[in-house]
């Protein structure tokens, strides 16, 4: 609603009406009044007069302010009691309506899909036949899935590792409370240390002795899973997750101080960046050579050997390292806020 003005008499429409009516304007009256007043005052006004004049002005201003607030008090009361309730209800109804409409649109889209498993789907074309038939001789990997994700469709796996890296970066941005290097005894730093001691009540001796035996075993098993990615089910992602689990067990048994002896934030940075760059460099040259990529100088070798299948074992190692560091980073950041 429009603001009610307190100098409504001086705006152009009432003045126009008054001039039309009786030929006078308020401006004329004011001018004559001023001329008569100025004829009376030859001297400058004294201090008391000025002070009294300013006090009068202030009082008039306060009165006008009170009048304005009175005009709007009704509106303020409405917005706090009834208005709030109406807005609340409107918000709830709108949220339900929007959710239901999105669900309806998605279900409509899903109903247009072809029936599951019928032979003339666009998915069952001749590409998958070729992968199954010629997979082992062209890539050299006995595990066809590893051959597909790391040789035929290696670029998609690069995007996937990239997504993992971005997720780790987001968690770092949101949760990282790093130590203040300039002021090691700041209050914030002491608080973080005290919290750390609270979150690890006591380190258990039995757990420490068992972990001293088990952690190398789990690491060996993870390395076995990574290296045998092209022969048996396994590969970079699952082997990397197992290696990350070993590091988490070590951290839980021994505490943050002893883990920082060999795995700091710098280790995480160096390993992730080097592994991803190696992957990107070895597979992304097709940007420059077009679709006909350069013939690989690494021979596929005998299927079933450990170092066969061209570039696939090395790519598995890179992916495994990235996944291991990412798992460990997630755990420590959710637990403590720092590495």
């Amino acid at each position: 609603m429009a603001k009610i003005r307190n100098d409504y008499e001086h705006s152009w429409w009432p003045r126009l009406l008054q001039w039309l009516e009786d030929g006078s304007t308020t401006l004329d009256d004011e001018l004559t009044q001023e001329m008569e007043e100025s004829r009376e005052q030859h001297l400058l006004p004294s201090h008391e007069d000025v002070a009294a004049y300013e006090a009068k002005l202030e009082e008039r201003r306060n009165q006008q302010l009170a009048a304005e607030l009175d005009m709007y008090a009704h509106a303020h009361r409405w917005s706090k009691t009834k208005g709030a309730k109406i807005v609340d209800w409107a918000y709830r109804i709108m949220s339900v309506v929007i959710c239901v409409s999105i669900i309806w649109v998605l279900l409509q889209t899903a109903s247009y899909l072809p029936p599951f498993g019928s032979p003339d789907n666009p998915v069952n074309n001749e590409v998958s036949q070729r992968y199954i038939e010629k997979g082992m001789e062209e890539t050299g990997a006995v595990n066809i899935v590893a051959g597909m994700i790391l040789d035929y469709r290696a670029f998609d796996t690069l995007g996937e590792s990239n997504v993992l890296f971005i997720a780790a970066c987001s968690v770092l941005i949101l949760l990282r409370v790093s130590s203040d290097k300039h002021d090691p005894t700041s209050v914030h730093q002491l608080e973080v240390e005290a919290d750390d001691r609270m979150y690890e009540p006591k380190n258990d001796i039995i757990l420490q002795h068992i972990s001293a035996f088990l952690v190398p075993m789990i690491l060996i098993y993870g390395v076995y899973g990574v290296m045998n990615g092209h022969i048996s089910p396994g590969g970079g992602f699952s082997g990397g997750a197992i290696m990350g689990a070993a590091l988490i067990l070590y951290l839980n048994a021994f505490g943050f101080k002893r883990t920082e002896r060999f795995f700091t934030f710098k280790t995480f940075q160096v390993v992730s960046v080097c592994a991803l760059s190696f992957y990107a460099v070895s597979k992304a040259y097709s940007f420059f050579t077009g679709a006909n990529h350069l013939p690989s100088f690494i021979t596929p070798g005998n299927p079933g050997d450990l170092f066969s299948a061209g570039l696939i074992p090395y790519l598995n190692i890179a992916v495994g390292a990235v996944v291991c560091c990412t798992m460990y980073a997630f755990y420590t950041h959710f637990r403590k806020g720092d590495m």
Binding site: R197, M198, P201, K202, D204, I206, L207, I210, L214, M217
Partner: protein, 117 residues
């Protein structure tokens, strides 16, 4: 003939393992306090899995898969006591009314756990 003997041994071992597992499941419902149920849980990890795995290994013959199954048994034997110990420690720390449920012989240790560091 040999096959039949192998089958009968495998059958006996599997049935024994199933009996042990059944007693474990019955125990987890019948015991009255949660510290006693740890004992029922420990049955699974020690005796139950050995009998079942031996039943499968006897039917399978000795090859790499059987060795991996025996490796699983070794890992479980190493880690199951630690799990039981940790769960027991947790129960003592968290329970505020320890006197009602059991007879406490070493009060200072309970106090030490509850205080933390």
């Amino acid at each position: 003939m040999l096959d039949t003997i192998r089958f009968i041994i495998s059958l006996l071992l599997t049935l024994g393992g199933l009996f042990v597992l059944l007693s474990g499941v019955v125990g987890i419902y019948k015991f009255k306090y949660s510290l006693s149920r740890i004992h029922a849980g420990a049955l699974f990890d020690t005796v139950g899995i050995v009998l079942m795995m031996l039943g499968v290994v006897v039917g399978n013959g000795i090859n790499l898969t059987s060795l991996k199954m025996l490796l699983i048994v070794c890992i479980l034997w190493l880690t199951s006591p630690v799990s039981g110990h940790l769960i027991g420690r947790l129960e003592i720390t968290i329970n505020d009314e320890l006197e009602k449920d059991m007879m406490v012989l070493d009060q200072s240790m309970v106090q030490h756990e509850k205080e933390g560091d």
